[in-house]
Subunit: 116 residues, 2 copies
Amino acid sequence: MAHVTKSKECDRKLKVTRDALEVIQGKWRIPIIISLLYGDKRFGEISKDIAEISPKMLSQELKALEENKIVVRTVYDTMPVTVEYSLTDLGRSLKKPLDELMTWGSNFRKVILRGA
Amino acid sequence: MAHVTKSKECDRKLKVTRDALEVIQGKWRIPIIISLLYGDKRFGEISKDIAEISPKMLSQELKALEENKIVVRTVYDTMPVTVEYSLTDLGRSLKKPLDELMTWGSNFRKVILRGA
DNA sequence: GTAACTACTTACTTAGAGGTAACAACTATC
DNA sequence: GATAGTTGTTACCTCTAAGTAAGTAGTTAC
């Protein structure tokens, strides 16, 4: 297996990326993960972080992230029931790719604003 | 500016990410960029790399990437007109985030397969 | 002149992502 | 028992990303 052609390598990477994209695609998943990278949070707190998200979308996307083992939901049996969301190890391992993406994003802004 | 609260930091990152996401979101943009990271290519060659993409989507997404300064389109005045697509510096600078994402993707596969 | 190849474009349709709004369950307060 | 504050859920609607299929423009081959 020492020799892999460039096109085969490209092909393999395309497949791996597809899997990763399925998990984090959509308008809200990455924002939710970023919010949770800054600490475990309750439903209402994530809502405040991501002002534009509706409760329906937040609930739905949290559920999807839970199914994909990115997020854990913990229910506390307090007086007004409290629910806390936190990242799994797998979820936290998204920090590096997302940090790189954010670095790229701020550079992108600079280049586009300068170029316009 | 030495002191920035954690929540402000989170807020800022959410905004930057939003910009980055707009550029690379959708089912096809990242695959197209990955294909071009493996060399400048013609329309038909990208089509072959990403077997499932339709000519309409490829044309449309290439145009969008061009508008966002990620891709450059060069027309060669040859007998059957030849068009070549390549990445700009800005486009090539996506290599690092995408590599990180692919690394994460292959780890994700392992964890999910093991856990199921 | 007609068939075939490349590189797209256009028109039409569909699926599902996302939005809005109202409701539900629980407790506390008046 | 009516009102309000959490933490969501449900039903319904809309809109856009993506898919399908056919067409166009230029050249080559016969």
